[in-house]
């Protein structure tokens, strides 16, 4: 029987049981966090790197978790920040514009061994890449994961109203791109 979040937090707070409890954390949340990251960075290798960074940051910062949000929310926040940091540093490394980085991401996606989508799905990913990063995040979280606006607010620190507006415009833009190409 898997422990509750309360039991897990108790075990995480004690040095003797910390690593065992964190192992459960990894196995419980790794898939959700992986896909959250992967939808943004697109490549499996990059998603793997960011996911590792996420969990190591969580491990090193366990004592800093104050319990003012759900533990899963805290993990999502770390994953989101690590993803945005990764994309920023990628841009700075190549000293390219945002458009160039997105073009690179798209090229990586098309060449990726682990991309197994059809033409329409590729079209959707291309359309999503035209969105600003934060809007892309909102779109992915709402469209693919069905995360509520209240949960998104806790993760992203943006108001529900702003998130709703962001999603509304994202869908409008993507749907328009689809219609134009028909």
């Amino acid at each position: 029987m898997s422990p509750t979040e309360e039991e897990l937090l108790l075990q995480l707070s004690q040095p003797k049981s910390r690593s065992g409890a964190f192992s459960i954390v990894v196995r419980t949340y790794q898939e959700r966090l992986y896909w959250h990251i992967r939808k943004m960075v697109l490549s499996h290798e990059d998603a793997n790197d960011v996911l590792q960074n996420t969990f190591m940051k969580a491990w090193n910062g366990i004592d800093g978790f104050r319990g003012d949000s759900q533990f899963s929310t805290w993990l999502y926040r770390i994953a989101t920040n690590e993803t945005l940091t990764f994309l920023t540093s990628k841009r700075m490394r190549t000293q390219n514009s945002i458009d160039d980085v997105d073009e690179t991401l798209l090229q990586n996606l098309q060449a990726d061994t682990y991309f197994n989508g059809n033409e329409l799905q590729m079209k959707l990913q291309k359309a999503i890449l035209t969105l600003p990063e934060k809007q892309r995040l909102v779109f992915n979280m709402k469209y693919f994961d069905d995360i509520t606006y209240e949960e998104m607010e806790a993760i992203l620190g943006t108001s529900v109203g702003a998130l709703k507006a962001s999603y509304h415009y994202a869908v409008k833009k993507i749907e328009k791109l689809f219609s134009e190409e028909e």
């Binding site: 990894v26 196995r27 992986y34 590729m122 990913q125 869908v171 689809f178």
Partner: protein, 105 residues
Amino acid sequence: MTNRENILLEKVGKELPFGVPENYFNQFALQIEDQIGHKHVVGRNVFKSWMFMAAMFVGVVVMGQLFYASHQRTLARNADNYETYVLSQVDETSLVDYYVDESNK
């Protein structure tokens, strides 16, 4: 859900077009556990293993006792059966003669 979102869902759906290498998540978890210095015990934990072994030992002892007791009863039954068999092969007159001779010794 908005109309536009419905159109998108109808056209493309929600399935992600990405895959992962085989056994990726298990390997990833093992990697992280290695980095944090945790030894992952597959399946039951160590305490449960000891309990299982203890239960097995008790089971073997109990089964042994039961088997031994049953075997002893079988032996006794066989002995009774044999005596009954032997007596059935001897007629009454010979039997009486035997007991009389024995008592005269």
